[in-house]
C-alpha cells in the first residue's frame, strides 16, 4: 500500500528523474571517474602503443578507447534503468549468449598470440569469456537465492554444470587466467551464499588439482609460472620493464608523456597500463587510481551488506569481488608479485571486450543497488 502511494506520487516524474533519484550516486561517481581516468591515461599510453604497432595515427588507441568508454557507459546506464528482475534476466540471457559465442570461438575463432579467444565482428574482436564472468556470477547468485527459497530445486548441480562447462571452454582456448578468475569468483559467491566447510574444501582441492593438471599438461602455463619463479631469466621481459617503469616513477613521476618504458612494453596500454601510469604520474596518482577502484568495490560491498534481497546481495557482492579480484591480480602482476596472466586493470586498461564487459558488470551493480522501497535496511 505504501509503495503504491509513493509510486503514484511520482508518476508524473520523468523516468530519468526516477533513475537519478534511485541510482547509487557514489558508485556512479566512482564509475565515471574511473572511465575518465582511463581515458586520460590512454592519452599517455596510446601514442606509444601506436608507435610500437606502426599505426599511423598516434591516437588510434585513444579514439578506440573513447568509443568503447562511450559504448560501455551508455550500456551500463541503460542496464541500470532495468529493474532487478529484468537485469537478472538480461544477465542470464547474456550467459546463454556467451555459451553460444564460446562454441563459435571454438570453431570460428580468431587466434592472437597463440590463444583462440576472440571472435571477429567487423573491425572489433569480441572476447566472449569476458562477458561470461559477470553473467555467470549473476546466474550463480540467482540459483543460490532460489535454493534458499525452494530447496527442492537442484540448484547446486545446475550451477556446477554451468561452471564446469565454462571452464571447459576457457581451457580449450586456452585461457588459464580467466578460468582462474572465474573459479575464484565462483568460490566467492559460493562463500557469500553460505557455503559449508565441506564444499569449500572440495572446491579448494578441486581447483588445486586442476591447477596442477594445467601446469603439467599446458606448456604455456608452465612456461609462465617458471618464468615468474626464476626472475633471472631473460624471458621475463614485460614484468621487468614494468618494474623498471614503476621504480623510475618515484613519488611524482617523470611527468606526462615523459615515460620511456612504454615504448618497449608491448602491453603498455592494456595489462601494464598501471606501470606506465606510475612512471609518468608517480606514486601519488597511482594510489589515487587504486583508491578509486577500491572505492567502487568497497561501496558495492557496502551496498551488498545493506541490501535486503538475498539475490541482490549475492550478485552485487559477487560482481564486486570480480572487479576487486581483477584489480588485485593486475596490480600484483604489474608489481611482479604474480605471474603475468593477461588480466586488465578494470575500467582503466584499453581493451574492447574487457571494457564493455566491465561496464556491463558496473551496469548490473548499479541496477541491483538502486534504491527501491524496502530494498535497504532490512534487519539492520
Amino acid at each position: 500500500m505504501i509503495t503504491r502511494t509513493i509510486s503514484a506520487a511520482r508518476t508524473d516524474r520523468s523516468p530519468l528523474y526516477e533513475w537519478w533519484r534511485s541510482v547509487d550516486h557514489i558508485s556512479l561517481a566512482f564509475f565515471v571517474c574511473l572511465l575518465g581516468t582511463g581515458l586520460i591515461l590512454s592519452m599517455a599510453a596510446s601514442p606509444a602503443a601506436a608507435a610500437r604497432m606502426s599505426v599511423d595515427n598516434p591516437f588510434h588507441f585513444l579514439y578506440r578507447h573513447a568509443v568503447f568508454v562511450l559504448m560501455g557507459f551508455g550500456g551500463a546506464a541503460v542496464l541500470s534503468f532495468f529493474t532487478t528482475v529484468n537485469a537478472r534476466r538480461i544477465a542470464v540471457l547474456a550467459l546463454l549468449g556467451c555459451f553460444v559465442l564460446l562454441v563459435m570461438v571454438k570453431f570460428a575463432g580468431h587466434e592472437v598470440k597463440g590463444a583462440q579467444r576472440w571472435l571477429r565482428i567487423g573491425g572489433f574482436s569480441l572476447q566472449p569469456s569476458e562477458f561470461a564472468k559477470p553473467a555467470f556470477i549473476v546466474f550463480a547468485a540467482w540459483m543460490f537465492s532460489v535454493q534458499k527459497r525452494d530447496p527442492n530445486v537442484p540448484t547446486v548441480p545446475i550451477v556446477f554444470a554451468a561452471y564446469l562447462l565454462l571452464v571447459f571452454f576457457l581451457i580449450q582456448q586456452p585461457d588459464f587466467g580467466q578460468s582462474f578468475l572465474l573459479t575464484l569468483c565462483f568460490a566467492a559467491v559460493f562463500f557469500f551464499a553460505g557455503l559449508s566447510l565441506g564444499w569449500m574444501l572440495f572446491l579448494m582441492i578441486g581447483s588445486g588439482i586442476a591447477a596442477f593438471i594445467a601446469y603439467i599438461f599446458m606448456p604455456h602455463v608452465q612456461a609462465r609460472i617458471q618464468r615468474f619463479l626464476s626472475p633471472a631469466g631473460d624471458d621475463n621481459y614485460q614484468t621487468e620493464r614494468a618494474l623498471e617503469a614503476i621504480s623510475s616513477g618515484g613519488f611524482f613521476g617523470r611527468g606526462p608523456g615523459e615515460g620511456d618504458v612504454k615504448y618497449s612494453l608491448p602491453d603498455g596500454h592494456t595489462d601494464f597500463i598501471f606501470a606506465v601510469t606510475v612512471e609518468e604520474f608517480g606514486f601519488l596518482i597511482s594510489v589515487f587510481i587504486i583508491v578509486l577502484l577500491a572505492g567502487f568495490v568497497i561501496r558495492s560491498f557496502r551496498n551488498a551488506l545493506k541490501l535486503n534481497d538475498y539475490f541482490c546481495q549475492l550478485a552485487v557482492a559477487g560482481l564486486a569481488t570480480m572487479i576487486g579480484m581483477q584489480t588485485i591480480i593486475n596490480l600484483f602482476v604489474n608489481l611482479n608479485m604474480a605471474p603475468p596472466k593477461g588480466m586488465t586493470l578494470p575500467f582503466i586498461s584499453y581493451g574492447g571486450s574487457s571494457m564493455l564487459a566491465l561496464c556491463f558488470t558496473a551496469g548490473l551493480i548499479l541496477a541491483f543497488t538502486r534504491r527501491r522501497p524496502g530494498a535497504y535496511g532490512f534487519g539492520d
Binding site: 509503495t3 509510486s7 529493474t83 562463500f191 553460505g194 623498471e244 621504480s247 524496502g374
Partner: protein, 560 residues
Amino acid sequence: MTEYGDIGGPVRRQLKIADSEFAAVSEGRIRIRIGAAIFMFALIVAVIRLAEVSLLSGSKGGSFYKSNEFVSRANLVDRNGELLATTLETYSLYARSKYIWNAGETSQQLASVFPDMSSEAILNRLSRKGDQLLIRRGLTPKEKQAVFHLGLPGMVFQAEPQRVYPRGALAAHIVGFTDVDMKGIAGAERAFEEDLSQENAPAMTLSVDLRVQNAVADELQKSLVHFKADTGAAIVMDVRSGEILAMASLPNYDPNRPDTSLPQNLYNHASMSTYELGSVFKPITMAMALEEGVTNLTEKFPVQNPLKVRDKFIRDDHPSKTPMAMPEILAESSNRGTAMMALRVGGVQQQAFLKELGLMDRVPIELVESAAPQVQREWQDITTVTVSYGHGISVTPLALTTAIAALVNGGEYVKPTLRKRDSVNPVEKRRVITRQTSETVQDLMRYVATHGTGRNARVKGYAVMGKTGTADKPSVDGYDERRLVSSFIAAFPYDDPAYVVFVTFDEPKAVEGTYGYATAGWNAAPTTGRIIERIAPMLGVRRDPGPATQSPFSGGRAMR
C-alpha cells in the same frame, strides 16, 4: 503496468519469506564483510609493494635508456695542463625506417657527410629490418650538424658520451682507459675513479710531464727496435717529490681503442712486471755496508780469489787480478766484492734495509697496476749474497727506481705518486740513510759513469750518475745466459741530484756496434744517456760545460 509489480514484487516476497531469508541475509553479511576485509588486505599489500618499488628502489630510473643521462667525467691533464683524457659528447645516428621515403637518396646524401662510408654501405644498413636502424656511431657535433643540414626525415641522434685520449698511445699506461660505461678500468682512470666520476669534479693534474714522457717514449721505442728487445720500460722520477714525470712501457696501445690492442700490450711493465734486475742492486748493498759501518771507501776486497758460498762459486763478469776497493767494485760490477760486503752486514740487517727502501713490498703508488716483489721465503747466506747483486729477488722497475731515488736524494725515502704534488697531496718521506752515506753513493755512481760500465751513459754538459744491471733470465733449470734483462739506473745532475731515470729492456739482442754484447752498458746505458740529453733542458737542469769525465775518485771529489 509492470511498474507497480516490479517495485511491489520484491517487497511482497520479502514479507512472505522474511524469516527464512533473514537468517541467510545476515549470515551473508558476515561473509561479505570477510570478503571485503580480504580484498582490503590484498590491496594494502599491493600499495605497500608499490611504495617499495616506486619510492624505495632508488635511482634505478632511466636505466633502460641510459644515454638520456649524460655521464660526466673529469679531464686528466699533465703537470703543465696539457690534456690527457677528456669526455666528448658524441652521437649515434639512427634512421627510423618508416620515415625514410627514399632510401637511395638518403644514403647518397649521408655518404656526402661521411666520406669513409659508401652510399651502398649506407643503403645496406637502411634496407635492414627493424624500426631504428643504426647508421653510424661516434659522430662529432660537427658531423651531427652536417646531417641536420641535410634535412633528411627520420634521422635520430642518440647522445653517447665518449672518453677521448688526444695523446693516443703516449702515456697510455699512465692514463689507462675506461669501459663503455665510462668507468675507469686501468691506469689513472682506475686509480682516481672516485675523484674523476664525481659530478662537476675539476680536472685532475697528474705528475707526468708530457714533454718528458714524449722524449722517454721516443728514445725507448727507438732503442727497443734497434736492440730487438721483447719489451721495454722507462721511468723518470723527481727524487725530492716522488712525482713520476714519465713512465713508458713498450709495446703500448691506443687507449682510444684498447679493444683493438693485443692483451699483453695493455700490461704496464714499468710497474707490473717484476724482474731480477741484477747489478743495479749493488749501490743499495754498498749504501747498506757504509751505513752499517762494516767497511769504508778505501778497504780493498780480495775479489781475485774464488768465492764459494754453499757449494756455489760466485762469478765476476769482469774478473780482476788484484784486490779492489768499493769504487772499483761498483765500477767493474764485481759480484764477489759486493757479496763480501753483504755477508759482513748479514741477512737480517739486509732484509730490514731492503724493507726500509720499499723493496720488500708493493710500491705504494696510486696505480692498481703495482706488483708485489717476489722474495725468497728462506733467507740463507746464499740469499744474502745473490740479493746483494740483484738476483734471487724480483722487483718492479718502479720499486728499484724509488729505492735508488732514496739513496741519491740525501737519504730520504719519498713515496712515489702519479699526482702532481700540492697541498692536498703533500710529499711523504722518511729518512733511510744519512746524508753523508747518500753523498757517498752519489760519488760511487758517478764513478761508474765516468770510469766504469756506465760510460756509455755519459752526456755532454750534464754530470750523470748511474749503474748498469745485466741479469740472466731465470729458466727451468737455472739461469739462461742468452736471455738477458738489461737495465740502467741513472740520476742527475751530480752536484744536486734531482731526477732518477731508469731504463730496462727484456731480452735485448747483440746488434752491430755492440761487439757481440747485449749487456746493459751497450743498450740501456746509452738509451738512458740520450733520454737525459733530451729531458735535462726541459727540466731546467743547468748545463755544465765540461763535467763529462769529472769523477770523485780522480780528483773531481775536491770540486764538490
